[in-house]
């Protein structure tokens, strides 16, 4: 592992996830990726808002290129977080991927209506989970153009 700080152009991915095991899997999937990236991990919607607004511990935060959002979290969950940021013009051009264990139709629809860019159900299988993380990274950082 390199210990120097990454160059400024590395893609910054903000992961909002309370489950430590899932967060570690996402990190592993991204570490093997071909695209230089820096993962910032926060554990709920409150922390994510602090990060995006550069408040408190995150005064020096750099705006992410991509947000990966879990839905079921303590304190402020992903649904509430989506509603809080959807009308904020400063964040409306940051692609947001919902990555959750839920495959509930209401969650899917609510997420798309509230401006999630896409909704992905976490596979239970370990290697499939890593595959999905890499597919997110490949599609959003290589195929799609992001601001």
């Amino acid at each position: 592992m390199k210990i120097h700080s990454p160059p400024a152009h590395d893609a910054i991915i903000l992961l909002i996830e309370d489950n430590e095991a899932d967060a570690r899997l996402v990190a592993e999937g991204l570490k093997e990726s071909k695209i230089a990236n820096r993962l910032v991990h926060v554990v709920d919607g409150d922390q994510a808002l602090d990060y995006l607004h550069c408040r408190g511990d995150y005064a020096e935060a750099v705006q992410p290129d991509l947000i990966i959002l879990d839905l079921n979290m303590p304190k402020m969950d992903g649904r509430e977080f989506l509603e809080k940021i959807k009308d904020n013009l400063s964040f409306s051009d940051i692609p947001l991927v919902v990555l959750t264990t839920s495959n509930d139709e209401l969650d899917i629809k609510h997420s798309y209506v509230n401006m999630a860019n896409c909704f992905i159900t976490k596979p239970l299988d370990f290697s499939k989970f890593v595959e999905v993380v890499q597919a997110i990274e490949h599609f959003w950082l290589k195929i799609a153009k992001i601001p």
């Binding site: 899917i108 896409c118 992905i120 992001i146």
Partner: protein, 150 residues
């Protein structure tokens, strides 16, 4: 969650360039997911399709929209705005697929709730690759809403 094991995925392609439309159709035909492509040539036709007006009375609601930006009559930016004002359409993922690489178009499209923005590669093979990547990501990785309960 919509599954595509039996029923084909319905894709609405909004594209005025005949060559690009044909390429997209060919790439999708070779794709792994069975799909039904509906092609309209500008934003006016796209909105008629989505509202199921006139000749589009019996068309299926698309699972995904592929939207060009620069088109005559009503362009892609206007389509994005129009769709965001119709609640029963606002959950349909919209993928902007355009020759434009302008930062203004990219930011504006995301702000107008495009789900993603992709620049068309000029190279034929890369174009086919991109269309197949879209198909793989949006129909194999992503969970789409079930249009029936929309």
């Amino acid at each position: 969650m919509k599954k595509f094991n039996g029923t084909p995925a319905v894709i609405l392609l909004v594209e005025d360039n005949e060559g690009d439309a044909r390429l997209a159709a060919e790439a999708l035909k070779d794709g792994k997911i069975s799909n039904e492509l509906h092609h309209v040539k500008d934003g006016v036709e796209a909105m008629q399709y989505l509202k199921q007006e006139g000749e589009f009375k019996d068309v299926p609601r698309p699972d995904v929209i592929l939207l060009d930006l620069n088109m005559p009559r009503m362009d892609g930016r206007e389509v994005l705005e129009a769709i965001s004002e119709i609640p029963k359409l606002s959950h349909i993922p919209i993928i902007v697929l355009t020759t434009s690489e302008s930062e203004i178009d990219i930011v504006k499209s995301y702000s107008l709730n495009a789900n993603c923005y992709i620049s068309k590669p000029v190279d034929f093979e890369q174009f086919v690759n991109v269309v197949q990547s879209i198909e793989h990501f949006w129909f194999s990785i992503v969970s789409l809403p079930d249009g029936i309960t929309a």
